[in-house]
C-alpha cells in the first residue's frame, strides 16, 4: 500500500472532521482556495514545502462552476508549452470529498503531456485543486470552486449501453494527439446505497492505471473513489502519441484489465483481455 493510499484511507476515516470543515473565502491576491480539509491534507501530502500559484499559461484547470452532474464532473488540466515535458507529477484534490485525493498522475521523464482530462464525483460545494510538481521540484497549484451536491452518494446508473466489467474503450482525435480511455467499472464510492436492498454498497474502485506508449511507461495513475462510474481519462500531447498505447488497470479487488490501442488506422480494433482479466 502506497503512502497515498494511507492518506486516502486516513481521510476516509475522518468524515466527521471533513463534514464540519468550513470554507473560508479565497484570497484575492493569490486566488488560492483555503479550506479546513486542505489545511489538514497539505502537511500530509507536501509537508512544509512551498506551493506556488501557477501561471495560468503554465498550468490551468478548467472546471464547471456548477457541475452538470455531481457524479461525473469533467475536469481538464492543461500544461502550457514551457511546462510540457517538465511535469513530474500531478495531483487532483477535491477538498470536501470524503476521499479528497482524487488521483495522482506520475509522468515518465520524457512524457510530453499537454492535457489531462478526467471525470470526478463531487460530494458538495468544494474547492478543487491541482498541484503539478515540476522536474526541478517546484510545486505549482491551480484551483477552482465547484458547486455540487451528492456526487459520492448518487446511486449507480449502470452506465447504460453495453459493456462488461473491465471493458476498455479508446477514442482519439483525428490528429492522433489525444486519446480518451473509458473503463467499464462501477467505481463504487462506498457512500452509495443499493436502492433496491437499502444496503450500503462496498467501495469497489479502480486503484491504479498504467499508460504505456510503444512499450515505454508514459504515466502511472493512482486513483480512488472520487473518479466517476465508468472512469474515463483523457490524455493529450503536443505530438502524435506513439502507438501502441497500452493500458493496464488494477482495481481495489486486485482484478486486472488490460487493453491496447493500435492507432486510428485500426482504431476500432482494440485488444482487451478484460474478459479474462480477473486475476
Amino acid at each position: 500500500m502506497t503512502a497515498e493510499h494511507n492518506i486516502r484511507l486516513a481521510a476516509a476515516r475522518l468524515p466527521a472532521l471533513l463534514m464540519l470543515a468550513t470554507i473560508t473565502a479565497a484570497s484575492a491576491e493569490t486566488s488560492t482556495a483555503t479550506t479546513e480539509a486542505w489545511g489538514f491534507l497539505r502537511p500530509q501530502l507536501y509537508g512544509d514545502r512551498q506551493i506556488d500559484i501557477a501561471d495560468q499559461a503554465a498550468v490551468s484547470l478548467e472546471a464547471p462552476a456548477t457541475t452538470p452532474d455531481p457524479s461525473a464532473t469533467p475536469l481538464t488540466i492543461r500544461f502550457g508549452e514551457a511546462a510540457i515535458g517538465h511535469i513530474k507529477q500531478l495531483r487532483v484534490i477535491i477538498d470536501n470529498n470524503p476521499s479528497p485525493l482524487a488521483s495522482t498522475f506520475d509522468f515518465a521523464g520524457a512524457a510530453r503531456v499537454a492535457e489531462i482530462g478526467l471525470r470526478v464525483r463531487i460530494d458538495r460545494w468544494t474547492s478543487v485543486r491541482v498541484i503539478a510538481e515540476t522536474t526541478d521540484g517546484q510545486l505549482e497549484m491551480r484551483s477552482a470552486w465547484i458547486n455540487a451536491a451528492g456526487g459520492c452518494s448518487a446511486p449507480p446508473t449502470g452506465g447504460g449501453g453495453n459493456g462488461a466489467l473491465g471493458d476498455i474503450r479508446f477514442r482519439n482525435t483525428p490528429d492522433g494527439k489525444s486519446l480518451q480511455v473509458a473503463i467499464r467499472h462501477p467505481n463504487n464510492s462506498g457512500f452509495q446505497i443499493d436502492p433496491l436492498s437499502g444496503n450500503p454498497i462496498p467501495a469497489h474502485f479502480i486503484s491504479h492505471i498504467r499508460f504505456s506508449a510503444k512499450g515505454q511507461t508514459l504515466m502511472e495513475v493512482d486513483a480512488g473513489i472520487s473518479l466517476s462510474e465508468n472512469p474515463t481519462i483523457r490524455i493529450a500531447s503536443d505530438a502524435t502519441l506513439p502507438e501502441p498505447v497500452s493500458i493496464e488497470v488494477t482495481d481495489s479487488q486486485d482484478a486486472h484489465f488490460n487493453a491496447s490501442w493500435h492507432g486510428p488506422a485500426t482504431g476500432s480494433e482494440t485488444i482487451s483481455d478484460a474478459a479474462v482479466g480477473n486475476r
Binding site: 452538470p68 446511486p155 489525444s178 480518451q180
Partner: protein, 315 residues
C-alpha cells in the same frame, strides 16, 4: 447568475382566468400566491414557475392540477414538496367537495411527486407507469438527502408514496361520466413517462414529454423521446398541459421547439463524440444555436450533453 434574472421572469400563462385558491384553513400552510386556472370545464391547472431545481421556490416549478368528474377527482402531479401538495389540496377543496379517488404521477421527478403525501388519506389510489415504483425506490434515498427540506420534518422514506396501481400500456379511469385514458410510454424523458387524456374536453396532460420555454431535461433516452414526440404530434387533442410552461392549444406546433432542440443535441453531441472531442468541449459546443430560445440553459443543457455523451461511450 441566470437564476436571479429568471426569478423575476414572468410566465406567460395560457388563456383563462387566474383564480386565487379559496382561503380554506389549510391554505394557511401553502403559499399565499398559489394560483389555479380552469383551462377547460372541470380541468384545473396550477402553472409552475421557471426556476432552477436548486433555487428557492424550486418546489413550485411543475404544472400540476386535477380533473373533476361527477363521482370523484383525479389529481395529476402534486408538486415538488409536501407544502405545494397541501397548497394544491387546499385549492382543490375550495373548488369541489368530491373526493380525490386517483393521484396520477406522470414520472419520477421530485418536482412532480413530492407533494403526493398531501393526498394520502387512505382512500385515493396512487397510479403511475409500471416502471415508476422501481424508479421511486431507486431514487428515494437521493430525494431524502437532497430534498429533505421539501418533506415534512423529520424526512422519512414513507413520505414518498409508491403507486399502488401501475400502467403497463394503457388504463382507463372513470371519474363519473368522465373517462381518463392513461398511456405509459417507452423510455423517453424518463423510463416512466405517463400521459393522461381527458376525453371529455380533449385535454392531454403530457407530463414532461413536453417542455415549453423551459429547456427539456433528458433523463431517459433521446431517441425514445423523439419517437414519442412524433406520436404525440399526431394526437387529435384540443389542448395540452405541458409538464413545464404555458398551456398549448396546438400540440404539434408546441412540440416543434422541443423536437428541434433534441435533434440538434443529438446531432451535435454525436459529431463532437465522433471527432474525439472531450465531454467539456461537447458541453461548450453542442446545440449552441438553441441557447437563446430557452430558459434555464446553463443549468440544464450541460447535464443533457453529459448524459448523452456518456450514453454514446457505451453504445
Amino acid at each position: 447568475m441566470i437564476r436571479s434574472r429568471l426569478a423575476c421572469a414572468i410566465i406567460a400563462l395560457g388563456a383563462g382566468t387566474i383564480v386565487p385558491a379559496n382561503a380554506s384553513p389549510k391554505s394557511a400552510t401553502g403559499p399565499q400566491d398559489f394560483t389555479l386556472e380552469q383551462i377547460a370545464p372541470g380541468v384545473f391547472v396550477h402553472f409552475g414557475r421557471p426556476l432552477p431545481l436548486d433555487a428557492p421556490g424550486h418546489d413550485d416549478i411543475a404544472n400540476i392540477g386535477f380533473i373533476v368528474g361527477d363521482r370523484c377527482v383525479a389529481v395529476i402531479d402534486t408538486g415538488g414538496s409536501v407544502r405545494i401538495g397541501r397548497a394544491l389540496h387546499a385549492a382543490l377543496t375550495g373548488r369541489t367537495r368530491k373526493p380525490v379517488c386517483y393521484v396520477v404521477n406522470t414520472h419520477v421527478h421530485v418536482d412532480h411527486l413530492l407533494g403526493d403525501l398531501a393526498f394520502k388519506d387512505g382512500h385515493a389510489s396512487f397510479i403511475g407507469h409500471s416502471a415508476l415504483p422501481a424508479a421511486i425506490v431507486r431514487s428515494r434515498l437521493y430525494f431524502l438527502t437532497q430534498y429533505a427540506a421539501d418533506l415534512d420534518q423529520p424526512p422519512s422514506a414513507e413520505q414518498i408514496v409508491v403507486p399502488d396501481r401501475t400502467v403497463t400500456q394503457t388504463l382507463e379511469l372513470d371519474l363519473g361520466h368522465r373517462l381518463l385514458r392513461l398511456h405509459a410510454w417507452p423510455t423517453a424523458h424518463t423510463d416512466c413517462d405517463l400521459t393522461v387524456l381527458d376525453e371529455k374536453t380533449g385535454t392531454l396532460w403530457t407530463g414532461d414529454l413536453l417542455f415549453r420555454e423551459r429547456l427539456p431535461a433528458l433523463d431517459g433516452d433521446l431517441g425514445g423521446w423523439l419517437n414519442s414526440i412524433e406520436e404525440l404530434a399526431r394526437e387529435p387533442v384540443k389542448r395540452a398541459v405541458p409538464g413545464h410552461g404555458p398551456l398549448a392549444t396546438d400540440l404539434a406546433a408546441a412540440l416543434q421547439p422541443e423536437r428541434r432542440y433534441l435533434r440538434a443535441l443529438r446531432e451535435d453531441v454525436q459529431r463532437e463524440f465522433d471527432g474525439g472531442e472531450s465531454l467539456q468541449e461537447a458541453i461548450d459546443h453542442a446545440a449552441q444555436s438553441e441557447k437563446s430560445h430557452w430558459l434555464l440553459w446553463d443549468s440544464t443543457h450541460p447535464r443533457n450533453v453529459t448524459r448523452l455523451y456518456q450514453q454514446l461511450e457505451w453504445q
